[in-house]
């Protein structure tokens, strides 16, 4: 006996997540950002009520820091209370950010919420609002912050259920940009284990890895830092009586992070560049559909302004000028240009430079060599930043960077040095 039903698959709410990677921001932006995860949560509740879903599954990382935010816990309990009033059940697993070992406020959760335990896979029947059995929901929470075990391997279906939804917080097929928790492979999930829908969490980028059975990362509900760009939200999943699955993305974010590149090739003066950027900002704000925008602009390309833009002070001044023109009316969406990077190039003749028997030529050849050879670059860069990486605190704080050693450094350094040398030459000449 199967019935059609609809549910929402959300994950990685990261409630009360502080905004990382933002050196400074106007008060209103800060306020909006620190409220945005909650706002997204409220949006989720609204969406669930509006779409009249039968239940919600949340695949982990509800809180950003399990031990910290009382506010998040209270807020979540309040929203769940609302869902309870509308008869919408909630199935939750906890992830690496909010393992069950974390501190809990002494709160009574409403009866519509089921939190899966950490000891083993559990399952719960999920019902339609009208009372028919819709599906079984399976899941297992993280007991501790680190889960290296392949917990998906132990998931088993209960054959009597009409539909099987598995909740899993983990890294499928080893996404290198996320911690390798609860590792498993896609083929494992899509194999003949009988599950119809794997509701995944942990990876903040929304994507559908497989269909029938569906293996889906819902992504996080609200972008929280400059790296989490684009629309964020949840999936509305409609399952027909014939078990056909239809997924609709529901955006929940109230502040959207965007990163755009802008070429300086067309701009002949700073004023012109400013005007171009302003109209660009206006366009983005118009397209935002009522959301606020956190915008990062990367100035790219080669042009006359490069020399000026290579001075950090100039870029900062430009940014400040653009920021000054932003307005923050209460209740209106805003656009905050939080960062502007100049990754522009001088008008250098690279080919000539490559041939040149000069220090600059030598330097260019060296950088090309490093660019070509990853290992070489890593050695080089590690050596270069060893002074800072060796610092106890910095080394620990920024270990990602020291580990990653992004190649953009090389590019920027090349531009910087060559620019300096040539600039110096030009000045001398």
């Amino acid at each position: 006996m199967t019935v059609s039903f609809r549910f929402i698959h959300a994950a990685d709410l990261h409630l009360d997540s502080p905004f990382r990677g933002l050196a400074k921001a106007p008060e209103q932006v800060r306020a909006a950002l620190s409220d945005s995860t909650f706002a997204a949560l409220r949006q989720l509740t609204q969406a669930a009520i509006h779409e009249q879903v039968d239940f919600i599954v949340i695949a982990g990382d509800l809180f950003d820091e399990a031990d910290r935010s009382l506010r998040a816990q209270l807020m979540l309990a309040r929203e769940w209370e609302k869902l309870h009033e509308h008869g919408i059940a909630v199935y939750v697993i906890h992830g690496n950010h909010d393992p069950l070992s974390g501190k809990r406020a002494a709160l009574q959760l409403p009866p519509n919420v089921h939190v899966f335990g950490a000891d083993q896979m559990e399952y719960r029947p999920a019902y339609r609002k009208s009372g028919e059995l819709a599906a079984f929901v399976y899941g297992r929470s993280y007991g501790t912050r680190i889960m290296t075990e392949n917990i998906a391997a132990a998931y088993r279906i209960e054959p009597e259920a009409p539909f099987h939804i598995a909740l899993l917080h983990g890294n499928v097929d080893g996404d290198a940009s996320h911690d390798p928790y609860a590792p498993c492979s896609l083929s494992e999930l899509t194999g003949s284990n009988g599950f119809d829908y794997w509701a995944l969490g942990h990876i903040h980028h929304r994507r559908v890895l497989h269909e029938y059975p569906h293996v889906v990362y819902a992504g996080n509900a609200q972008g929280r830092n400059p790296r989490e760009t684009g629309a964020k939200g949840c999936y509305l999943v409609e399952v027909s009586a014939a078990k056909a699955v239809e997924m609709t993305f529901l955006p929940l974010d109230v502040v959207r992070w965007l990163e755009i590149s802008h070429s300086i090739a067309e701009a002949s003066s700073e004023q012109e560049l400013l005007q171009q950027l302003e109209s660009l900002m206006d366009v983005h704000l118009l397209e935002s559909a009522g959301r606020s925008i956190m915008l990062r602009v990367n100035l790219v390309g080669r042009g006359r302004l490069h020399q000026k833009l290579s001075e950090p002070l100039i870029v900062r001044t430009l940014l400040e000028q653009l920021q000054e023109r932003q307005s923050f009316a209460v209740g209106e969406p805003w656009l905050h240009l939080y960062r502007m990077e100049a990754a522009t190039g001088a008008e250098l003749d690279w080919e000539q430079l490559e041939e040149e028997d000069s220090f600059a030529g030598e330097l260019y050849r060296l950088s090309a060599l490093l660019e070509a050879d990853q290992t070489l670059w890593h050695e080089f860069a590690k050596d270069a930043v060893s002074g800072m990486a060796g610092h106890a605190k910095l080394g620990r704080l920024l270990h990602d960077k020291w580990d990653e050693l992004p190649e953009r450094w090389l590019e920027q350094a090349r531009e910087l040095t060559l620019g300096a040398i040539y600039g110096g030459n030009e000045r001398d000449g």
């Binding site: 009382l70 002494a106 800072m388």
Partner: protein, 1100 residues
């Protein structure tokens, strides 16, 4: 560059001194303080300028006089000779250069410009002596070597030699670029900028740098965050505390009532103690009057009741007695007459009847008048029936229904008879009228017939007189005439045919034209006439038509004149025959035959005319006029005659018809007259029969009337009327009888009444007196009197009755008094008391007892108010167990306890409030959030700084790596040279000098391939290594302008072998570069002199 001579004007201790230097190797030998180092400094100052005044040791102001400065002679090439002049006081110590040409009398030490012309450009340029900028000087003549480089590479003292050991790889490298690459400065500048920015961003041990500051504030934030209370912990703690507090508050709330009750009890005990004491006293009092309690409430009540009743009775008895006396007095005043009272009823009846009597009298009068009226009415009715009738006949008359029916039948019959008689009479009348009319009509008709006859006879006089008297004869005669005439005509035409041929041919057209018309008209007329004759009827219309046709034909004939005659004849024939073309042809064939035929025809006409006309001759003459005279006039006359004849015939025909009709009419009328007369006779007979019947009926009716003594001439209708009247009269009669009876009865009643009234009135004088005037008034007077007496009697009787009642009541009261006395006695006995007084006292005591009871219960109530049974018992125990003071103490202690508990509760509630508040505060708090945000922002700043720093580091590394590449490419020459030199210096013990990238300092490779850090070398060896490096670098650095190498006693730490080795090396090097060695050691001097063949010794 090769120095030729130094001319010191004043420098340090030296003045006015000329030192020849013109040799590849110059050995300056002198004891200490001879001025070796001063000279050394002089040459440097000449080349690079004086040191600042701040460095007097370097500046070397002249102490023994002379102008600070001097001149330096040098040559660039074999023939290029210059003199450099520099005085501190002149041109701010700028160098002044003058070219001297190829030769110079150096030996004489001449410093003037006595020199020969040179072809060198430079010489030419500087021939006059030119002031140069230091930089230009350095660039042009010193190969870009700066003072610093000069000091390090070319003007080497021991201390400077040692510096080589302290050189880091980087610095060494920089020398290399500075020495070997002309953009070195830019790179250095770029590097410097990078380093500056890096240093402003971060220093490992710095504190002012951006990142260091960010780190610091991050640490502070983290510390603050760490220090902050864990909000969840606090929340949970608060929740737990709240729960605990709630429990304790609940406990207190449950305890509180108990305590309060206890306290209330104690308070009560204190306050109620006087009451309790009073209660005890009352108990004692109660004992004393307890006996009175035996007297029950009922007893007391009955006692008082008895006493009250007794008093009441006594009073009552007295009242009765007084009343009785009063009544006696009243009774004595009343008197009345029994006799009169007895008459009362009768009188009343009469009085009541008197009204009806009066009415009766009135009625009687009315009755009398009514009787009169009836009498008159009856008389009138009876007389209206019949004058001789009286009341007797009336009473005798019996009218039955049968009688009435009979009368009605009679009347009906009489009516019917009368009607039939009238009808017959009317019929007779009509018939005689019709008879008369019929006879008149017959007369008229006969006379009309006669008149007609007469008229016909008269009409024969004019025109043709037509003979035949009947119509048929006339018609037949006419027809025969007509036929004869036509035949005659035809014959005549035939006879005249030959004459008319010419005319006929002459005017055929006209004839034919007219003929056509004529034929048509004649045809039509003929047809009409034939038809009329055939039909045998005379129709005026037909005749007119025929006449018209004939006229037309005649007109046509006139028009066609004589020529048209045959045509006319033909048409005439046609007319006569009605039809027949064949006859025409026959006639035509016979036409012209003979006159005989014509004659016969005339005869026939004559004969026919004889039948028709009275005077046939005339008629024939008229008709046949055309026989002889064929003129038109004749023809016309004949035609007219013919028409006249015909008209006469026709008129006769008509007259005949009319007379026939009249005769018919006469006979018809006669028949009708006969019929009428017969009918009238029948009718007359019927009338006679009806009259007989009527007479019989009248006789019978008269008999009937007589039987009823009714006037004989009365009609049945009158009888019916009389019946009605008689009935009315009878009714009246009956009423009259009744009324007269009533009248008589009333009269007797009235009389009886009057008699009785008179009798009664006799008993009372006044009434009797009055009776005569008005019996009714008298009666009323009497009645009033009687009523008065009766009332008096009634009063007396009432009084007597009351007297009796009083007596009885008095008696009853007496009895009751006795009963009461007995009861009182019994109650006294029951109470066991002697007398009423005692009983009264006992009752008093009883009341006291009751009061005590009341007081007790009041006290008890007061004590027990608001207390349960249990509490009351406790209270009782308290009263019994403790005295006043103890109770007070207990009360105050319970109060304290209660207050304590309440205070605790208040405190708990306050604490609860605080907890709630802090919970609220905790939930509201955003400090944590702010700190976290701050932290993240700081972290972000730090990251961004770090990023920048990393980029800078990489940039620096790029530059440094590039530099190293340069080092590795360039260094081999330097190091190779250095290696060569060291090998020579150490006589093969060390074979290589090298630098390791990333490591500071210089390393040595021994002959057995070991690497040895320069720092661990012995001083001498180290100095040899450094020297070798210096030589190599100097060689590499200034290849353009080979500056002289000046060594200030640097071999002091060399052993003999190495000294010789170095001497040999110097000899070798001096081939390319001038070398000036200063020493204060003889062995050094000697060694050098031994190995350097061209060495010049300068003794100071």
């Amino acid at each position: 560059m090769k120095l030729i001579k130094a001319e010191i004007n004043g420098y340090g201790q030296l003045n006015a001194r000329q030192i020849p230097l013109n040799a590849p190797v110059v050995i300056v030998y002198g004891p200490n303080e001879a001025g070796k180092s001063t000279m050394f400094g002089f040459i440097r100052s000449m080349l690079f300028g004086f040191a600042r005044r701040g460095l007097p040791l370097e500046r070397q102001e002249p102490v023994n006089g002379g102008k600070h400065g001097g001149r330096l002679f040098f040559s660039l090439a074999e023939n290029e000779l210059f003199v450099l002049e520099r005085y501190a006081s002149d041109h701010a110590g700028k160098p002044k250069l003058r070219g001297l040409g190829g030769e110079l009398g150096t030996q004489e030490g001449q410093s003037d410009q006595a020199s020969q012309e040179t072809n060198s450009e430079a010489e030419a340029r500087y021939a006059d002596g030119t002031l140069l900028l230091q930089t230009d000087w350095e660039r042009q003549f010193l190969g870009g070597v700066t003072e610093r480089l000069y000091r390090q590479l070319f003007a080497i003292t021991l201390s400077e030699l040692q510096e080589v050991g302290a050189l880091s790889g980087d610095e060494l490298g920089r020398y290399l670029y500075q020495a070997g690459w002309d953009s070195g400065k830019t790179i250095a500048a770029a590097e410097k900028r990078l380093l500056q920015e890096m240093e402003s961003l971060y220093k490992p041990r710095g504190s002012l740098q951006t990142m260091n500051q960010q780190l610091k504030s991050l640490e502070q934030l983290e510390a603050t965050l760490r220090k902050r209370e864990d909000s969840i912990g606090v929340f949970n703690e608060l929740t737990a505390q709240t729960t605990k507090l709630e429990a304790s508050i609940a406990r207190m709330e449950s305890e509180l009532p108990e305590k309060a009750a206890r306290h209330r009890l104690m308070s009560k005990a204190c306050s109620a103690r006087p009451l309790w004491l009073r209660k005890q006293k009352l108990f004692v009092e109660r004992e004393s009057v307890a006996y009175a309690g035996k007297i029950s409430e009922a007893a007391e009540r009955s006692w008082t009741e008895l006493l009250r009743q007794r008093a009441e009775r006594r009073e009552e008895w007295e009242k009765h007695r007084q009343k009785g006396m009063l009544i006696e007095l009243q009774l004595e005043t009343i008197s009345y007459d029994e006799e009169l009272i007895r008459l009362g009823t009768e009188t009343e009846a009469l009085l009541q009847a008197s009204d009806s009597m009066r009415k009766l009298a009135q009625d009687r009068a009315e009755l009398a008048s009514e009787l009169r009226e009836h009498d008159e009415m009856i008389a009138r009715l009876v007389s209206s029936i019949a004058p001789e009738w009286t009341e007797r006949q009336l009473r005798e008359l019996q009218v039955t229904v049968a009688d009435r029916d009979l009368v009605r039948n009679e009347r009906q019959q009489a009516l019917e008879l009368l009607r039939s008689e009238e009808r017959i009479a009317a019929e007779l009348e009509t018939l005689s009228q019709q008879e008369l009319e019929a006879s008149l009509a017959l007369e008229e008709a006969r006379s009309a017939a006669e008149r007609e006859q007469a008229r016909r006879g008269r009409s024969g006089g004019e025109g043709f007189e037509v003979l035949p008297g009947t119509r048929e004869a006339l018609k037949g005669a006419w027809n025969a005439l007509d036929l004869a005439l036509r035949e005659w005509e035809l014959e005549r035409v035939r006879a005249a045919g030959s004459d008319g041929e010419a005319a006929e041919t002459r005017q055929p057209a006209g004839g034919s034209g007219a003929g056509m018309l004529w034929v048509a008209a004649a045809g039509a007329g003929g047809a009409a006439l034939a038809l009329a004759v055939g039909a045998g009827e005379i129709s005026l219309a037909v005749l007119v038509l025929a006449g018209a046709a004939i006229l037309l034909a005649a007109a046509a004939m006139v028009r066609s004149r004589s020529g048209a005659a045959p045509g006319r004849e033909r048409s005439g024939q046609q007319l006569g025959r009605g039809q027949g073309r064949g006859s025409r042809s026959t006639a035509a064939s016979a036409g012209s035959s003979n006159a005989a035929t014509l004659e016969s025809r005339e005869d026939r006409v004559m004969k026919a005319l004889e039948v028709v006309v009275r005077e046939p001759r005339e008629a024939a003459a008229a008709l046949l006029a055309a026989k002889h005279h064929r003129s038109p006039e004749h023809l016309l006359a004949a035609e007219q005659a013919r028409v006249q004849l015909r008209a006469a015939v026709e008129a006769t025909l008509e007259a005949l018809l009319a007379s026939e009709r009249l005769i018919d009419h006469c006979s018809e009328l006669a028949q009708r007259l006969d019929r009428l007369r017969a009918h009238a006779a029948g009718r007359r007979e019927a009338a006679a029969a009806a009259a007989q019947t009527r007479q019989a009926a009248a006789r019978q009716w008269a008999g009937w009337l007589a039987a009823r003594s009714l006037p004989a001439d009365m009609s049945p209708t009158a009888v019916l009327e009389a019946f009605e009247l008689a009935e009315q009269a009878l009714q009246r009669l009956q009423q009259y009888d009744r009324l007269s009876a009533k009248h008589a009865a009333a009269g007797s009643t009235l009389a009886a009444f009057a008699k009785q009234a008179a009798e009664l009135c006799g008993h009372f004088e006044e009434a009797a007196a009055e009776f005569a005037a008005d019996p009714a008034l008298a009666l009323r007077l009497l009645h009033a009197e009687i009523r008065r007496h009766a009332a008096a009697k009634q009063d007396a009787l009432g009084i007597i009755a009351r007297r009796e009642e009083l007596n009885m009541a008095k008696h009853a009261a007496d009895l009751r008094l006795q009963e009461l006395a007995a009861e009182i006695a019994a109650q006294l006995a029951a109470a066991g008391l002697a007398g009423e007084a005692e009983y009264a006292l006992a009752l008093e005591h009883r009341r006291t007892l009751q009061f005590i009871h009341l007081e007790l219960s009041k006290a008890e109530l007061e004590i027990a108010a608001g207390l349960s049974e249990e509490r009351l018992r406790e209270l009782e125990l308290l009263f019994e167990g403790y005295d006043e003071e103890q109770l007070q103490a207990m009360q105050s202690s319970s109060l304290t306890e209660l207050e304590e508990l309440e205070r605790e509760k208040r405190e708990a509630l306050e604490k609860m409030g605080r907890l709630r508040q802090s919970m609220e505060h905790l939930l509201q708090e955003e400090e944590q959030q702010r700190l976290l945000a701050e932290k993240e922002m700081t972290l972000a700043q730090l990251e961004s700084s770090a990023e920048r720093y990393a980029v800078l580091s990489v940039s620096a590394a790029l530059i440094s790596r590039t530099k190293r590449i340069y080092e590795e490419e360039r260094q081999p020459v330097v190091l190779r040279n250095a290696s060569r030199f060291i090998e020579k210096l150490t006589e093969g013990k060390y074979i290589r000098v090298l630098t390791v990238p990333g490591e500071s300092g210089i390393k040595l490779e021994t002959a057995d391939r070991r690497l040895i850090d320069s720092e661990v070398l012995s001083r001498g060896t180290a100095e040899q290594v450094y020297l070798a490096m210096r030589f190599a670098l100097a060689e590499e650095a200034s290849q353009g302008a080979k500056l002289p190498l000046m060594l200030d006693d640097v071999f002091v730490n060399f052993d003999k072998d190495r000294l010789h080795a170095v001497a040999k090396l110097l000899e070798e090097l001096s081939c390319e570069r001038q070398i000036i060695v200063m020493t204060c050691h003889e062995h050094v001097r000697d060694a050098l002199q031994r190995h350097c063949a061209e060495a010049a010794l300068v003794q100071l």
